[in-house]
């Protein structure tokens, strides 16, 4: 049965090995230029003036090939799990059902359960290995760049680093198998896999991930010297958002609150903030209100707890789907 799985999957295996090797070469070639720029900008020993060193470093990288490779590599890690679900998972059973070859396979001296178990185990292991390698390579290659870009904890970077891509890929693969089994048409199963996978991953990124680990919470006096936003609307309604100095953090909410803990909404005093007021009078007035800045965020050290939780969730869903596949194959697949 392992032979059959390998024989049916040989072409895909060589394509994958080839693509991984090509990417590996690109990363090995461009890697030193990042290290050189990092050393030249002296980021490691920047001490107090890291902002300048980092922008110096990023400017150097952007002018070289590594800047493009950085965007491209992240895109590849982001897309590969979906590709695996669509091109490995969905056709795996659907194509057999479509061409009737399951009737051939199921009448050899191999039970359906073993037939499915071997396919899932062999290709699932291949998936985990390929995506694990890919993610490891990109994560280590982009290490300094990720730090300079605000950290690995930021949502899009987070989804393409560490171990979550492996969770996504295993989920996408088993989802594809399930869709193929239920829909029995390869192309329709591919489309359904892509739709459901995208929905799941986007939901995780947009709504679920931030709750997987309890977020940090901090309240500081509002510093209005360089606000992110200071806006006065109709009826003197006022919105003030202060900037924050949290580096390498994923900020979930940044609100300005009054001393009673309410979100500050004005009203603005036209005497200081109106059209005829003196320059900076409004700032001074806001400062005198004793407002505080309320931040909810995930710091950089939540990276691994969040990675583990998210990967665990996707692997658990993949296992549930696999269990369903076994049940369906034994009871309902004809």
């Amino acid at each position: 049965m392992i032979w059959l799985t390998w024989r049916q999957f040989r072409t895909q295996t060589w394509i994958t090995v080839g693509a991984l090797a090509a990417l590996g070469v690109v990363l090995v070639v461009t890697g030193p230029s990042i290290a050189d720029a990092y050393d030249a900008a002296n980021v490691a020993a920047c001490g107090t003036d890291c902002g300048a060193a980092i922008s110096n470093f990023l400017n150097q990288v952007r002018t070289g090939a590594a800047g493009i490779v950085y965007q491209l590599a992240s895109a590849v890690v982001y897309v590969v799990p979906a590709v695996i679900g669509v091109f490995w998972g969905a056709p795996l059973i659907a194509r057999e059902l479509e061409t009737g070859t399951h009737r051939l396979a199921w009448n050899q001296t191999v039970t359906r359960t073993r037939w499915l178990a071997t396919k899932l185990a062999v290709i699932g292991a291949g998936t985990a290995l390929a995506v694990g390698l890919l993610s490891w390579a990109v994560t280590s290659w982009a290490y300094h760049l990720d730090d300079a870009h605000g950290g690995r904890i930021l949502p899009l970077t987070f989804s393409t680093r560490g171990i979550v891509p492996v969770g996504y890929a295993l989920f996408a693969f088993v989802l594809g198998v399930t869709m193929g089994m239920l829909i029995r048409r390869t192309v329709a199963a591919m489309a359904a896999t892509l739709a459901v996978y995208s929905l799941a991953v986007i939901s995780m990124q947009e709504w679920i991930r931030e709750h997987l680990v309890a977020a940090s919470h901090v309240t500081n006096p509002l510093d209005i010297s360089s606000p992110e936003l200071l806006m006065i609307g109709d009826n003197d309604e006022m919105t003030v958002i202060g900037s924050h100095s949290l580096s390498d953090a994923w900020v979930l909410s940044n609100q300005t609150i009054t001393h009673t803990g309410q979100v500050f909404t004005g009203p603005a005093d036209p005497q200081y903030c109106g059209p005829e007021a003196a320059v900076r009078a409004c700032d001074q007035w806001v400062n005198s209100l004793g407002l505080r800045q309320d931040l909810v965020y995930h710091p950089a050290d939540h990276f691994w707890p969040l990675q583990l939780a998210e990967t665990g969730i996707f692997i658990a869903i993949a296992l549930l789907l696999a269990g369903f596949c076994f049940w369906w194959t034994r009871r309902h697949l004809t």
């Binding site: 049965m1 009737r103 051939l104 199921w106 009448n107 039970t111």
Partner: protein
């Protein structure tokens, strides 16, 4: 008598509101070549799929070679199956298919497989998707045979083949049966396809088994009577009318009777197997009980 290769009791399969197989009761003895005949949609494929474990029955029970269909590797090893249209992996070569068979079946006979492929003149490196219909059927049969099953089940194996390919296919099948002590069940919608090879017949019409038995017994017990038109009530006892047709003053009857017919007013003729099956196929479908010829 040895244990039946296939024993079914009240076997039924329902798809939604449609009955594909209803109340099928059969006991097929070992060592026979069984023809399963019936028009398209009669339930032949459903019955065979239940027998190989591809489909679960809705009601009733079935035993194949004393076991539950597809209940485990041991059961799977005993039954060889070629599905309708002989599915094969289009992207794999002929040689790959033999490797597939060898890897998937502990009882695989590589010599037998190689010999058959050689005799058929198939190029081992050819992609199976490029084979002709006849070659494809032969490859599928080779896969089913070389695992050395006790029972070979073939679903419409020759329906899509040209006459020459049909003859070659059946010759190959008969050669295998002659060498190995296997039972075979093969289905067709034409009895003429199977006449030369089968010695046991099951006729399936509109989801029901209409008649089943040894071909010799069936031929001995069925007669065509031709004579002056008269009331059918005065036929000898033990005679069952399968089909009747009347013109002006003459009646032609197809009857089943276990005792010889010595009614002088009729001309009694032997039936061919094809006539016999046609009589059952054209019979009113309200016939309540299937005819089960049992060997005494």
């Amino acid at each position: 008598m040895s244990r039946p290769v296939l024993q079914a009791e009240g076997l039924s399969k329902r798809y939604g509101r449609r009955l594909a197989l209803s109340d099928c009761t059969l006991a097929i003895p070992a060592g026979r070549v069984v023809g399963l005949v019936g028009p398209n949609g009669a339930g032949k494929t459903t019955l065979l799929h239940i027998a190989v474990g591809l489909l679960p029955p809705t009601a009733g029970s079935i035993e194949v070679l004393g076991g539950h269909p597809a209940s485990g590797a041991a059961q799977l090893a005993k039954v060889g199956f070629v599905a309708q249209d002989a599915p094969i992996y289009a992207g794999l070569s002929v040689a790959d298919h033999l490797r597939f068979g060898a890897h998937m079946n502990p009882g695989w006979d590589q010599r037998l497989a190689d010999e058959r492929i050689g005799r058929l003149g198939l190029d081992p490196s050819q992609k199976a998707g490029k084979l002709s219909g006849g070659q494809r059927a032969q490859l599928a049969l080779t896969l089913a045979i070389a695992k050395l099953p006790d029972l070979l089940i073939l679903d419409e194996p020759i329906a899509s083949l040209d006459p020459l390919a049909r003859r070659e296919f059946l010759q190959g099948l008969m050669a295998y049966i002659a060498e190995h002590d296997a039972s075979v069940i093969l289905s067709s919608h034409l009895v003429s396809d199977l006449e030369r090879v089968c010695d046991y017949l099951v006729v399936l019409v509109a989801s029901r088994v209409r008649v089943s038995g040894e071909v010799d017994d069936l031929l001995t017990n069925h007669h065509r009577l031709t004579g002056a038109r008269r009331d059918l009530a005065n036929l000898p006892t033990g005679t069952e009318v399968i089909e009747e047709s009347h013109i002006d003053r003459q009646s032609t009857l197809t009857v089943r009777s276990t005792s010889p017919i010595d009614d002088r007013s009729f001309t009694v003729e032997q039936l061919t197997l094809e006539d016999l099956v046609l009589a059952y196929l054209s019979q009113q479908t309200t016939h309540p009980q299937p005819v089960l010829e049992t060997t005494p």
